[in-house]
Subunit: 200 residues, 2 copies
């Protein structure tokens, strides 16, 4: 259940009271129906773009191209290529003139989010974006219960540092609930993260 303030702004709880039933148990209408996090975010970004709310795109998968054939009368065919590690996060764009930058990851775990889902290049990129005044965060999905959280990059960075200093290699569910922002799954858009940005 959402509440609107008189100014039209949505009231957002970090964790809605109905959270436990908002997933795939509640008559199925908001359940995920097997969509991946990437599909949900693409749908959300299409929604934002069509309504002129924000312009955010997923970057193409970086590929190292080794061999290309140019057959007569048809399109060039890449015959040998390799996946490259991304040097940035996957999503970026503009919202009200501001730079938005995020990475989205999911886990099968249910009690913590493993930090191995990120790599050093991305962490460095997030630091650079924050230093430049950009809005930077991660979207974390727990696939088992379909719960999605937005966690600002500054928190991810401190957990990354904790790991680098010999601490645990994951973020506990408790920490995510405390520092992150719960995003209830919607129908259209699916993952309304801009609503959270407005409250930051």
């Amino acid at each position: 259940m959402n509440f609107n303030y008189p100014n039209g702004k949505k009231y957002i709880t970090k964790e809605l009271p109905s959270e436990k039933t908002a997933g795939n148990k509640k008559n199925g209408s908001y359940s995920n129906r097997g969509m991946t996090l990437e599909e949900d975010l693409n749908e959300t970004n299409d929604y934002y773009r069509e309504r002129k709310i924000a312009v955010i795109h997923k970057k193409p998968t970086p590929v190292q191209i080794v061999q290309v054939d140019y057959p007569k009368r048809s399109a060039a065919v890449i015959k040998e290529a390799y996946f490259k590690l991304a040097s940035t996060t996957d999503y970026n764009g503009v919202y009200k003139g501001k730079y938005i930058d995020f990475e989205a990851k999911e886990t099968q775990n249910s009690t913590s989010f493993p930090l191995k889902n990120f790599h050093q290049h991305q962490i460095t990129h997030m630091e650079e974006v924050m230093n430049q005044g950009g809005i930077c965060f991660v979207i974390l999905r727990f696939t088992k219960n379909e719960k999605v959280y937005l966690l600002e990059a500054e928190h991810l960075l401190s957990f990354w540092d904790r790991m680098a200093n010999g601490g645990r290699k994951s973020i506990t569910m408790e920490e995510i609930k405390q520092l992150g922002h719960y995003i209830p799954l919607g129908y259209h858009p699916r993952i309304d993260y801009i609503k959270i940005i407005d409250t930051l």
Copy 2:
């Protein structure tokens, strides 16, 4: 020759008096030595990132992957893939919290810049970025004389409209000189476009 104001800001002319000799004729030190526009911009973006001036990356080339082999004990090999048309511009990032977005193109022409270097998807994307308050432009290089100009997206869009209404299919050199901003080739960074952004 560049001049600095007392506040340390560079004095930027739209077209430097020394422009005609600033290219590959002037003792060769600033000449392009066969680098592509993409290489020059990558070098420039590295320069900005290392000095914490801005965080701007080129997006990976979009590729439609059709077949991938997973050989034992070695990396996945993409065996069949095709180049896709980009749905956005090639470069974006953040500068002082603001969203920066641009496309870079070069031409062998010397009297005008053909609009066929752009496609409708990119033009639509630039419109969306402008509507969202982002800073959007194109960097145009004339390869024959190595002259580089920054042209704000609003001007490109009006030339695109002129073409759509039956007008000429290119931007004349005169128009680019009048509306664009000349970027003298430098040594390090090669194409100092952020300096122009500061003056907009």
